[in-house]
Amino acid sequence: MTRTDAPTFTVTRSFDAPRDLVYRVWTEQEHLGRWMSPAGLTPLESTLDLRPGGLFHYGMKTPDGAEMWGKWVFREVVPPERLVFVQSFSDREGGLTRHPMAAEWPMEVLSTVTFADEGGRTLLTLTGTPLNASEAERQTFEGALGGMNQGWAGTFAQLDAHLARTQEAQT
């Protein structure tokens, strides 16, 4: 059975900077390597090869000293409008790894970033959808969306699914 209704994560943010600048900091090594990690984590070294098929490999260090690595494999590079890349967890050497905290998280998430000009500001939209995911991984991702994107309705749908699975396992 193939599923075509791929679960999609969406996050948007408006930045107080012109689109060309926002696009530059996403696509130039000297910039990207300095901000591409969540606040509170320290960026480690990174490499960037900006072209379809090229790689952005980056690391970050948590306050307790643990290292996490990630990578993007670019699919589309369309200045200054759009980037498409496959995002994965990685190791220091750039190998593909699983989510360090969720064994059934999809190994690859197809991510699209669009940069919309809003007259001096830039509206950034990032969407993510699992790629080559097993049904269990797909459900993990979809469950995450239910809780975050659709509020309680989604949470209850997720709880229902969890309960149904639990009951199946018990009968």
Partner: protein
Amino acid sequence: MRGEANVTELAQPFPISLPAVTKHLKVLERAGLISRSREAQWRPCKLEAGPLREVADWTAHYRQFWEGTFDRLDDYLGTLQAQLQTPPQTLPDPTGEDT
């Protein structure tokens, strides 16, 4: 949720019958998401947060990752623009063309 509650209290906000609520609670109990005391006649229910927290942790992580990263990007863009606006221009023209 604070402490224990009985079926009547739990049913109060919902437009469904007490037996229907009882049925839902049985499902939650089997799934380990609540526990129910067998001592009292009214079988008080208690939320077992452990399994739910496990779900919430990885659920929150992906969004937290991007929201946290965008927080840093926002700061970075602010700093960068302040530098670019400082006269005389300290950074090269991004187009690489001198006027």
